[in-house]
Subunit: 203 residues, 2 copies
């Protein structure tokens, strides 16, 4: 008689883990190396987005969480949609989850937390935008604009027109266009080399 062992697995172990090259890069940043300005933080993030292409570990997007007070790097993420096989694995989602895991709480704006700033190589898509208020970060710094991502074929989703004002009304300061050209250049390089542009279906 055959056993009644389940044929049909309905739960999976899912690990949101950054690529090895990126762990090495982050470990190489000195503990008290300050990224004093938004431009220095963005330059680091844009370099991660470029390296994510070079290493073949995902799309041309990166993000990081910094302590806006000291300039200390807390955590970072890159797009890992194809590598992990997970559509949620956008750079901002990964960076926010990494920061929360490292700092030990789902609210980065809670008591005892540093003043967390999310720096993203591109303006957040609709999903990542929705994730930002739940994360507890106090500020958002963006490089490339939505239209730069759309120009090379990426879908940013259905965002409200007033998304910047919406974040600011929740106490999250927004700064746009920081090293925009440098960040947008990575998107264009990715498109020019024929990197896969996965998107939501249009029906």
């Amino acid at each position: 008689m055959r056993s009644a062992a389940p044929q049909n697995k309905r739960s999976a172990e899912i690990a949101i883990t950054i690529p090895p090259w990126m762990s090495r890069t982050l470990d190489g940043v000195a503990e008290f190396e300050p990224y004093a300005s938004s431009e220095e933080r963005m330059a680091f993030v844009v370099e991660l987005s470029r390296e994510n292409i070079a290493q073949g570990t995902g799309g041309p997007f990166a993000a990081a969480v910094f302590d806006a007070g000291s300039g200390r790097l807390i955590a970072a993420g890159v797009n890992m949609v194809t590598r992990l096989g997970l559509s949620i694995a956008h750079a901002e989602i990964v960076a926010l989850a990494q920061a929360q895991a490292l700092l030990g709480g789902f609210d980065l704006g809670g008591g005892g937390m540093p003043n967390c700033e999310l720096v993203s190589s591109a303006e957040p898509c609709a999903m990542c935008l929705g994730a930002i208020p739940w994360s507890g970060v106090r500020s958002l710094v963006c490089g490339a604009r939505d239209e730069d991502a759309r120009a090379v074929g990426f879908d940013e989703g259905a965002k409200r027109e007033d998304w910047v004002e919406g974040l600011e009304a929740r106490g999250i300061a927004v700064r746009r266009d920081v090293l925009r050209e440098s960040a947008a250049a990575v998107l264009r390089e990715y498109a020019a080399m024929g990197g896969p542009v996965y998107n939501g279906r249009k029906g």
Copy 2:
């Protein structure tokens, strides 16, 4: 001489794993047990949301992915924000990620995939709404309305007024108010017992 071992860890292992009681519940569903109607699927999901409170593993929200053709249960998620310490761990995000991990791809609408339907005990917040088009699901079924969640203190985020039309324009069919009263009752029970309502900061 002390070694120069890094003091400052900047990457974490993050596991998106459902609670043990839930794995047992899902394993207990017969392989070919069909959930033929949206109401049957929602009844299963609402029961998960209630059990998530009873077991103390998270907020009063659940979601599941079904094969809309056969009615087969593919994967499920519950809110695990407090349990995992991750603000992204909403029920829909967990269910979509679980389905992608189990079916082996980031696009649930891709070739060879079943006709995936996301059934959620409540209308999606702004983050989960943004995640839906990237997931590849072909339809969304909702129980409680945004206003039911807001009535007990949950923040749904800044959604576009035309979010239903927006999904449908992308080929994602939306059905609302399926067992709405039953789903909303779980939200009220949670509030009445004083369950924690974590939210984005308002500034």
